[in-house]
Chain length 341, copies 2
C-alpha cells in the first residue's frame, strides 16, 4: 500500500540566491523523498529552465505559474496590495484550497506571514500566530540529544499578551514533540530573573498560568544566559525580544573570533591556535546559522508555513520541505489544537 | 594648590567574596589614587580587621559602621523594610547628606537601586533612573578605540515609555562622553529592524523623537546582530530587553567554546588549536566579563551610584571607585541635566 504523497508548495521567488537555487532544492528533495511532491510556484518559464538543467525526479515535481513576486526589500502590506498574484500569495492560496499541504518560502518574511494570515485560518483559541526558530545550544535536547532549542515568537508580532505567551508555549511544545522527537519538552519563559514574580506584568501573569497548565512541562522563568546554555527545550517570549535574541545569536560566533583576534593578536601561540581553528570556526558559523535547520515555522494556523532563510541554498530548501512534510504527516496542527484544549 | 579629594562611599557588605575583598579594593585604590577618599560603610569591626592586614594609605580611608546589611538573595523591598540601617542605605544617606560624593556597592542590585531611589533625587525631567553597562564589542569606540559600547537600561525597570527611552539616550550619551572619552558618541535604539517604523509603538515614537533631538547623535534603529558588532556607542532599550541581552552576552564566549568542542572533538587539528587557544579563551572570558570595567552606573539621580558586580574582586572594586570619582569630578549629573534641557 503506497503512502499518500504530501504536497509542499514552494514559493520559488524572492530568495537571496534567485529562483534557480530554490528549484535546485526542490530537485534534490525529489531525488531523496519519494513521499513528497513539490509544487513550484513562481515564474513558469524560469522554473522550467532551471529544472531542465537540474537532475530531478519529474513525477514528484509540478509547476504553477505566478506572474509577480515580492522582493526582499519591499514593505509587505504595500507589496501584497500592488501584487495580488505574487508567488507567495498564489502558493498560500493553493495550500488553503487543498492543492498542497504546506507552504515553504525563502522570500520576504513579512509578506509570507501576511499572506498566510490572509489565506489560512487561525486555530481555535489562537489570537496570534508566532514565528519559531531552532537555534544551537551547549546542551543536547530530545531523544537524539540534538544541540538545539526552539524559541518563539521571533518576530511575527512585536508584542504579546500573557495569553499569547501561553499559546506560544503550547505551540512550541507540540512542535518540539513532533519535529524534534522530544516526547516531553521543557518549556521556559524568558525574563529578567528566574523568580516567578520577575518581569513585566504580562510575563508574571503568563508564569502563573503556565504553572497550572496541564499540557506544558513548564520549568519556570529563565534568563538571557540560559538561551545559549539551552536550559529549556522551548523558550517562550514576545516577538520583539525573540527577534533581538535570535539576531544576537546569529552574530555571536563571528564576534567572539574577532574579539579573540583583537585581544591576542600579539601572542604567537594564540595566533597559531586561531589559524588552526579557522576552518573549524567557519563551520561553527554554519552550525550557529539557524536557517540550516529546515527553516522557521509559523505556528498557529490550520496550515503550516515554513519560512526558510533568504540565504538558503538548495540543501536548506530541501530540508525545509522535509520538515514541512513531517509536520503534515504528523498532524502538527491537530496536535496544537488538542494542546490548546 | 591641592585638588579637593572626591569621597566615594563603599557599601562594603553583601558582595560574593565578602567584605574583606571590598576593603582590599579600597586599600588598592588608596595606594593608587591620591585624589580619592574611600569611606567604608559596613560592619566596623570586620572592616578594621581587614584593613589591619592589608597595605593601604590610612589618610585616604575612613570607616562608618552600619549594623546590618542586605544579602544577595534577599528581596529588596522587604529587606530594606526589615533593615532600615543596612549598609547600602547608610552609605546612600551619607552621599545624599554630602558626606560622600558617590556610592559604590557590590551587593544586591535591587536593594542598591531602591536605596538610591529613596535617598537621592531624580534629575529634573527624569521619570525613571536606568542601570547602564559597558560590554565588549568587535569594533573600537571613542578616542582610544576601546572595544566597548554602553547599553541601558539593563534592569532598573522592566519597561519604558518613549520618553523614558529618550531620557536614557541623553543619559547614556553624557556618560559615554565623560567616562569613555567619546566626544560625540553615536546612539541607537534597539529594535527588530533598522527601519524607523519597526518595533512596538514606544520604540517607533522614541525613534521619531530622537531623530529631532539636538543633543543626541542618533543613528536610528539597530538590530540584535549589531549589539556584539558594536554598531553604536550607546544602545538604548528598556530594562527587560537590556537585561536579557546583557545576560546573553555574559554566557556567550563560554558557549561558543563548548559548541566548538562539541562539533569538532574528533578532528585532531581542531583539538590542538583549541588547546593552544585555551588560555586565550579564558582571558577572553575575562574580557567579555562586563563587571571588570568599573561597574554599572545607575543614571538619572543627582548622585551617582555605581553597581559593581557581586563577583567583583579587589581590582574591579578599585576600578569602580575610580570611575565614580571621574564621574563626580567631571560633573556627570550636571552634564545629563544640561542634555535634558
Amino acid at each position: 500500500m503506497a503512502q499518500r504523497a504530501t504536497t509542499i508548495a514552494f514559493d520559488v521567488m524572492g530568495g537571496d540566491h534567485g529562483p534557480a537555487e530554490v528549484v535546485r532544492g526542490a530537485a534534490l528533495l525529489s531525488l531523496e523523498a519519494p513521499h513528497i511532491h513539490a509544487l513550484l510556484v513562481g515564474d513558469g518559464q524560469v522554473i522550467e529552465e532551471a529544472l531542465a538543467s537540474t537532475r530531478h525526479h519529474g513525477e514528484r515535481i509540478s509547476v504553477h505559474h505566478a506572474p509577480s513576486f515580492v522582493a526582499m526589500h519591499e514593505k509587505p502590506a504595500a507589496a501584497l496590495a500592488d501584487k495580488p498574484d505574487a508567488s507567495v500569495v498564489v502558493a498560500a492560496r493553493l495550500v488553503a484550497d487543498g492543492e498542497a499541504d504546506a507552504l515553504v518560502s525563502c522570500g520576504n518574511t513579512g509578506a509570507g506571514v501576511l499572506a498566510a494570515a490572509r489565506t489560512f485560518q487561525l486555530l481555535r483559541g489562537v489570537r496570534r500566530a508566532a514565528l519559531a526558530s531552532v537555534y544551537p545550544t551547549r546542551t543536547g535536547h530530545g531523544e537524539k540529544q540534538d544541540p538545539f532549542s526552539l524559541i518563539l515568537d521571533v518576530g511575527a508580532n512585536v508584542d504579546a499578551t500573557a495569553d499569547d505567551l501561553v499559546t506560544f508555549a503550547v505551540m512550541g511544545s507540540a512542535y518540539a514533540r513532533i519535529i524534534s522527537k522530544n516526547p516531553q519538552p521543557t518549556v521556559a519563559l524568558l525574563s529578567n530573573g528566574t523568580e516567578a514574580m520577575k518581569g513585566p506584568p504580562r510575563v508574571v501573569e503568563a508564569n502563573q498560568k503556565l504553572a497550572q497548565h496541564p499540557g506544558v512541562r513548564f520549568v519556570g522563568n529563565i534568563e538571557g544566559v540560559d538561551i545559549p546554555k539551552g536550559t529549556a527545550d522551548v523558550v517562550v517570549t514576545d516577538g520583539f525580544v525573540g527577534n533581538v535574541c535570535l539576531k544576537m545569536l546569529e552574530g555571536v560566533s563571528e564576534t567572539v573570533v574577532e574579539l579573540a583576534r583583537y585581544a591576542y593578536a600579539s601572542r604567537l601561540r594564540w595566533r597559531v591556535g586561531l589559524w588552526m581553528l579557522a576552518s573549524g570556526l567557519n563551520q561553527l558559523k554554519e552550525l550557529t546559522d539557524w536557517q540550516q535547520y529546515g527553516g522557521a515555522p509559523v505556528l498557529g494556523f490550520d496550515r503550516l508555513f515554513i519560512k526558510a532563510h533568504g540565504r538558503s541554498h538548495a540543501r536548506a530548501v530541501a530540508n525545509a520541505g522535509k520538515v514541512a512534510a513531517k509536520a503534515v504527516s504528523s498532524n502538527l496542527a491537530q496536535a496544537i489544537q488538542a494542546g490548546l484544549g
